[in-house]
């Protein structure tokens, strides 16, 4: 049976924890990174950092433990572990011999700069570009960003009209989202299916992490890339017309580029819960969700976007198509087909919930319970049978032979199944060699 690989979407902190201490310290050299990391801390930890930001001496650990009330000690411990894991604070011995905590000095200085000023400007060569003759406004930026992202997703689904650069398709293959066989065009994997159903922010983040992982092999400096990304995510939309340029067009040599909403939600899109960031719900639909699910398993998707229709068709049967609506039916076959491709029921439900029409959002729960239960049941149906390989031993001449062999197999731990009435046992392939040898020895004795 095929093993289903679950798509792992790490968040910022988990990713940073895996980096080596030297890289982390270099990373904290930029105010934008410090801000991004700070924003992702749990609220209590943020308060701790703020309190220690303007102190130059370490605080005794015992004193810090007294900051919280008695009921919140668990939260305190969690904060301590998060802050230490990210190397935001160090232990240092105080004069009296007690253990103290002090903020990582690089992090402290740069967060102070972000908050109060001083230090270097975030963007280099900003003023030398002169006034922008081809200024773009916010809406055209949004549209551009959405179009580009949709092209990538279209390519994954396999629409022939979508074409992406060689680099990008290589990246998709390395990320495990697509695979290529012997010179054919790349086709999507089960991980890729799961990726498609995620919300945009998570997709972005996963993609960026994969890119960062390959960056080192390409000889690019991880620290520079990360700092650049964080910087972009903090820039005000549309404001840095003189300083930045388009994000997703690294190919062109132009020095001008504009941070798009996608880049800005990068920093915000880290938490798994974000569903309504500045992005809105999803690309291609404007602001809000567009799917209505009824209790008779009918699905109405008010969209024109080819991509969205293709995504809906992944797990349902399309019945009718109108200029602005697609009517589909969620059936057992369509859902089980999707599950055979590696998508889980949870992802289908998440997809429906995040793209639910505002009318649906008014009811509680958002999706009808009949639908959610039924989709999960269809998924479980596939798990009723479990296949394991084995070797069958039958036609024993006597009960005693059968029992001897069965006990031996059981002793070795490779007995998969037995039927005493018919004198049949099934042994696992690994144990088969040993059991066969034992049986041969047995026969030669008697």
């Amino acid at each position: 049976m095929k093993l289903r690989v679950q798509l792992q979407c790490k968040n910022l902190h988990e990713y940073l924890k895996e980096l080596s201490p030297e890289i982390l310290d270099r990373l904290y050299n930029h105010p934008a990174t410090c801000l991004a990391v700070y924003r992702e801390l749990p609220p209590l930890a943020k308060n701790y950092v703020m309190r220690m930001l303007f102190l130059d001496q370490p605080l005794p650990q015992a004193a810090v433990a007294l900051w919280v009330k008695k009921d919140s000690e668990k939260d305190h411990d969690q904060c301590v572990s998060v802050l230490s894991g990210l190397r935001l604070w160090h232990s240092q011995q105080l004069q009296g011999g007690l253990q103290g905590n002090i903020l990582n000095p690089v992090f402290k200085d740069n967060l102070r700069i972000a908050l109060l000023g001083g230090g270097k400007s975030w963007a280099d060569q900003g003023d030398s570009l002169g006034p922008d003759r081809h200024a773009r406004d916010v809406e055209s930026l949004d549209k551009y960003a959405l179009e580009r992202w949709e092209v990538v997703l279209h390519f994954m689904v396999g629409c022939p009209s979508a074409a992406v650069s060689q680099d990008l398709s290589q990246l998709l293959i390395q990320a495990g989202l697509m695979r290529t066989e012997a010179g054919d065009a790349p086709c999507i994997t089960s991980a890729g299916f799961q990726f498609l159903l995620l919300d945009t922010a998570s997709q972005l983040w996963y993609f960026t992490l994969q890119y960062l992982n390959t960056a080192q092999t390409r000889g690019m400096d991880l620290v520079e890339i990360l700092s650049f990304l964080f910087q972009l995510s903090f820039s005000t939309l549309g404001r840095h017309l003189r300083e930045f340029g388009l994000v997703f067009q690294r190919k062109r040599k132009s020095r001008r580029y504009y941070p798009t909403r996608l880049a800005i939600t990068l920093s915000a899109g880290v938490s798994a819960n974000s569903s309504s960031t500045a992005m809105g719900a999803t690309p291609g639909t404007g602001d809000s969700g567009f799917i209505v699910v009824e209790t008779n398993y009918r699905l109405y998707a008010y969209t024109n976007s080819e991509l969205q229709i293709a995504l809906v068709a992944l797990f349902s049967e399309c019945l009718y198509r109108f200029p602005n609506v697609v009517v589909a039916q969620v059936t057992r076959e369509s859902v089980q087909q999707a599950i055979a491709n590696g998508i889980t029921a949870q992802q289908i439900l998440h997809f429906l919930r995040t793209r639910a029409h505002p009318v649906m959002l008014k009811q509680n729960p958002v999706l009808p319970p009949t639908i959610t239960d039924q989709i999960r049941l269809w998924e479980l149906e596939r798990d009723r049978l479990q296949f394991s390989e084995g070797v069958l031993y039958n036609q024993f001449l006597s009960q005693a032979d059968f029992e001897v062999l069965r006990d031996r197999a059981q002793g070795l731990g490779c007995l998969v199944w037995q039927n005493v009435a018919h004198r049949v046992i099934v042994v696992s392939p690994q144990g088969h060699g040993e059991v066969k040898r034992f049986w041969k020895r047995q026969k030669s004795h008697t």
Partner: protein
């Protein structure tokens, strides 16, 4: 651990007392802590609040003798975004850009405010009740303009310099009761008299930066023991038994036919005339 979701907006309104007469006198008393230092500390507090979460919002109101003026945000900006003038130059240093725009604007506004207001008289009190009322109206407006599905928590921080003004008592009480209807946790407020004014920024960050969720987890200065005995309005003596006007709730030690605060007339209570009861003679059996 409970984490605030992306959809929760936390609004902090800071009301700063900028009475020029008091601050002018203060400059003679303690030259190292002036109005600009106080405003620096307030800006640090505001910056820290904005940096904490992407959805946090900030407003700063300056409370002057004759007006209350919004130092931030500007009326012309798209609400809450702090973008302002597209041509405004960037900070040129490592400060987060949103903050440098905000801080420059606040500095500009306070300079304009102080230079254009003509100060008459010698009062060292400010229109605090009016500023609080403006803060409440602003909070209400922000609450109305939220997107669908967003919730909002709001709080007001008052940085007070000069002494209280008795004339504003009634307005003050009205504002408090209006706020109580808007925000149920009004009694969850914190009061702190700052022993060392120079360390204002540190006090603000330690005590007032956490929002109401986090306050329940942290240990904060205990409430100052308040002497709940009332002071009478006529003599300012602390009294335990007195007369209370039923209209405006102001307290007097002696009865007066007209309440001096709200000018309602009351009838003088005469002692009750006890009607003598005619005893019925018991019928003799």
């Amino acid at each position: 651990m409970m984490m605030a979701s992306e959809d929760e907006v936390s609004l902090l309104v800071i009301v700063v007392d900028v009475n020029p007469i008091w601050w002018g006198q203060q400059a003679n008393r303690e030259p190292q802590f002036t109005l600009s230092k106080c405003l620096d500390a307030v800006m640090v507090m505001g910056n820290s609040h904005l940096v904490m979460t992407r959805t946090n919002k900030l407003a700063i109101i300056a409370s002057h003798c004759q007006e209350s003026h919004f130092l931030y945000p500007c009326k012309l900006w798209k609400f809450g975004d702090g973008h302002g003038d597209e041509n405004a130059s960037t900070s040129g240093d490592g400060k987060y850009e949103l903050l440098s725009v905000a801080n420059d604007f606040i500095a500009e506004e306070i300079k304009n405010l102080m230079s254009r207001t003509e100060v008459k008289g010698n009062q060292t009190d400010t229109l605090l009740a009016g500023s609080l009322a403006k803060a409440l109206c602003y909070i209400h407006r922000v609450a109305k303009e939220l997107e669908a599905g967003q919730e909002m928590k709001s709080r007001i921080l008052v940085v007070k310099a000069a002494e209280d003004c008795a004339l504003q008592y009634m307005n003050f009480m009205n504002v408090i009761f209006a706020a109580q209807k808007q925000a149920c946790d009004i009694t969850g407020g914190l009061y702190l008299k700052i022993p060392q004014k120079i360390a204002l920024a540190q006090y603000l960050l330690w005590v007032f930066l956490p929002d109401s969720d986090q306050r329940s987890q942290l240990v904060l200065p205990p409430p100052v023991h308040v002497d709940y005995r009332a002071a009478c309005f006529c003599h300012r003596n602390l009294i335990e038994i007195g007369y209370v006007c039923s209209v405006c709730l102001s307290i007097f030690c002696n009865f007066s036919p007209i309440c001096t605060t709200c000018e309602t007339a009351f009838k003088i209570p005469l002692p009750q005339v006890v009607k003598s009861k005619k005893k019925k003679l018991k019928p003799s059996t």
